[in-house]
């Protein structure tokens, strides 16, 4: 069964550093998403991406965040200057229609 692949599985970074989280969505999917989940809390929408541009973003997705689909397969989330409160599990998801498939997540720890 097709999967959404995320790398790395765990990243530790110092506060103020830039991080890039990577995702390879399912190849024939058209919509791509990033969600985050602070430990023990709900899953929160960050951003959706369609046709090579952001279609929607939440209040969480401020100027420190950006997304790219640089080569037609990868879908990246960049956090420019990480803060302690960015520590969370970040999930990538993709869909073509009604089924949303989530990746295994990247656990980001900011120290």
């Amino acid at each position: 069964e097709p999967e959404v692949t995320q790398t790395p599985s765990h990243q530790v970074t110092q506060m103020g550093q830039e991080v890039i989280l990577r995702c390879v969505p399912i190849s024939n999917h058209l919509y791509f998403y990033w969600y985050r989940q602070i430990l023990g809390q709900k899953v929160e929408f960050l951003v959706s991406f369609y046709n090579n541009e952001i279609s929607e973003k939440s209040e969480i997705f401020d100027d420190q965040f950006s997304v790219e689909r640089p080569d037609g397969s990868n879908f990246t989330l960049k956090i420019r200057s990480t803060k302690l409160e960015d520590s969370a599990m970040y999930f990538c998801a993709s869909t073509r229609g009604q089924n949303y498939t989530f990746g295994s997540g990247t656990r980001l720890t900011v120290v």
């Binding site: 969600y35 709900k42 899953v43 009604q98 089924n99 989530f102 295994s104």
Partner: protein, 112 residues
């Protein structure tokens, strides 16, 4: 703004018992999803409910959707320890993106 609530948030039950988790949402939708999450793991899709009255069953879990009441239920029959996890419902009101909203999750512990 779409709000999704789950009840209960924590559930401890004995093996062999039955129980129901409820998911309420605030805006009309006919697309509702149930996910399971084990600690530190990703979201595993359990059910996709796409119409009023939809009912789906997989093993000891059965999910239903009442779009008029804006309510979905996840019923657990004869619980076993392996069902211990957090269960999330998510509602999609279309147009993709921000309109796919998760509930807060129900943390289920099945005790022997």
């Amino acid at each position: 703004e779409l709000k999704v609530e789950q009840n209960p948030l924590f559930l401890s039950m004995q093996e062999g018992k039955n129980y129901t988790i409820y998911c309420n949402y605030s805006t009309t939708s006919d697309r509702l999803y149930w996910y399971r999450q084990d600690p530190g793991k990703s979201l595993e899709s359990l059910f996709v409910l796409l119409s009023n009255g939809a009912v789906k069953q997989e093993g000891r879990l059965m999910a239903s959707l009442d779009t008029k009441a804006r309510l979905s239920t996840l019923h657990i029959t004869a619980a076993v320890h392996d069902l211990s996890a957090t269960y999330f419902c998510a509602v999609d009101i279309g147009n993709y993106g921000q309109n796919f909203v998760f509930g807060p999750g129900t943390r289920l512990s099945v005790l022997p």
